[in-house]
Amino acid sequence: MIKVEGLTKRYARTVAVDNISFEVEKGQIVGFLGPNGAGKTTTMRILTCFLPPTSGTATVAGFDVLEHPMEVKKRIGYLPETPPLYPEMEVLEYLNFVGRLKGVDSSHLKSRVDEVIERCVLGDYRSKLISKLSKGYRQRVGLAQAIIHNPDVLILDEPTSGLDPQQIIHTRELIESLAGDHTIILSTHILSEVEHSCERVIIISKGRVVAQDSVSNLTNRLRGSEVVAVELEAADGRPNPTEVQHRLEQVPGVSRVVMKDSRGGRLMFEVESLQGRHVRSDLARAVVNAGWNLNEMRSVGLSLEDIFLQLTASEQREEPEPVTVGAH
């Protein structure tokens, strides 16, 4: 449904998107994951024909965004980061306007508007001024305008940012209910969101795709390796950090040891294990055998940030082929 090849967007001084390629099948929900400024919004803007790419091609439903923008625009519903609302309009008036703007046939307009109002649970707010709506409801109106013309492709830029937890759950459910008929790309920097609603994830950082994989593979990877926080104290009160680090690194199954903190005589480390290895008991034994006091040991999940750091670091080392997470 969506095909992006070698897409690059360069601004005067910066490269926002650097040679990105990916494909999205019909009916899939794909999560676009990345820290702020990674190029998510730029990629989405190119797909919606808001921005032209510097080089590379992007096609939506077989139509190129540069050559047939009208055809692409007809097939895309777009919710930008801030919903594009006219505060002086009433909800119903706004949806009617957008419906016409998107080329909905006037004979279908009323039923389409009713349908999206029902879908986005806006029934009680039909004749309310948009300027009087709370942020959550504005987001719903934004989503309603994106689906009013029943587009094949939905592009949602951080649809849940700034919402309260209940609204997030509602929005998520709404997006999932839209899945079957629409191909959806949503961007976010919240991992759990991707886990909940997406089938596939594309992680981008600094304008590059650093990983793209199915959610199950990604979460397997997350659970497969383990990060353990270890706090220890030397019996004589003066442990040698390099020595401790060296010892911990020698424990079988440990891939990385990072010193986090040292306070008084206490040392804090984060120990990361290899894929599928459980190293906690070995670590404990190693510490005790060396004659140190083990104060604390707990397992920490890999945060999204850590994945980014890892992926971007590995990308710098290996280059330019996108890394597939599962095989990493």
């Binding site: 024909c49 921005l51 002086e88 016409r100 703007l101």
Partner: protein
Amino acid sequence: MSQILLICRKELKSYFASPIAYLLMAFFGLIFGFGTFTATRDFVRFAFQQQFQGGGQPMNINEQIIGPLLSFGSTITLFLVPMITMRLFAEEKKSGTMELLLTSPVTDNQIIIGKWLGSMMLYLCILVMSMLNIALLFAWGKPDIKPVLVAYLGLLLQGGCLLAIGGFISTLTKNQIIAGGVTFFVCLLLWLLNWATSFDTTGWAAVVNYLSIVTHFDNFSKGLIELKDIVFYVSMIFFALFLTSRSMESLRWRS
């Protein structure tokens, strides 16, 4: 075409959803009404004087009231245009609704023409305020209607020209105040140029005078339709709208 009208209607609605449309109409109505009052008072005084002294030139409502009055009106519109056009594009850029328009299946030109027509409709509503005063003159006098219509055609063309320029300026910034301020400055400059060059007859003055949008209204206010004035206004409108479309396109490349 329907998309153009859709955007035009939306613009007009948003003018009337805020106080701006009513304010502008009231402001124009007030000043124009005052102008009508003084012009008519002087005219009547002069007429009485002539009656007592006898003779003198024949009096003419068209030449002595309506012509100067509509010229006066055209000067006032110079100051209204910035307030009409400043929000046209700047507001949409700021609030992010530009993204909605530019990602919808409408062309840039449809957006531009729709917005221009919307601002024209408001301008027309403002002009209607002045027609009330003119109608009073028709009720109690017998002016010729043709020169009045010609003058209104001139007002429309001049307004369309200024609105197109103001719209263009509004695409250049996200800040309404800046858009309004620059447009106001341009209008003021046109007015001053016209005034300054009226004392000068050198070649440069003639060129500047020709380019000054205001001078082309003079013939209309006298009831004369000159082809060169119409060509000037229409080509200026097209030129300004063309600049607007270029500016919109550069918006895509830069933003």
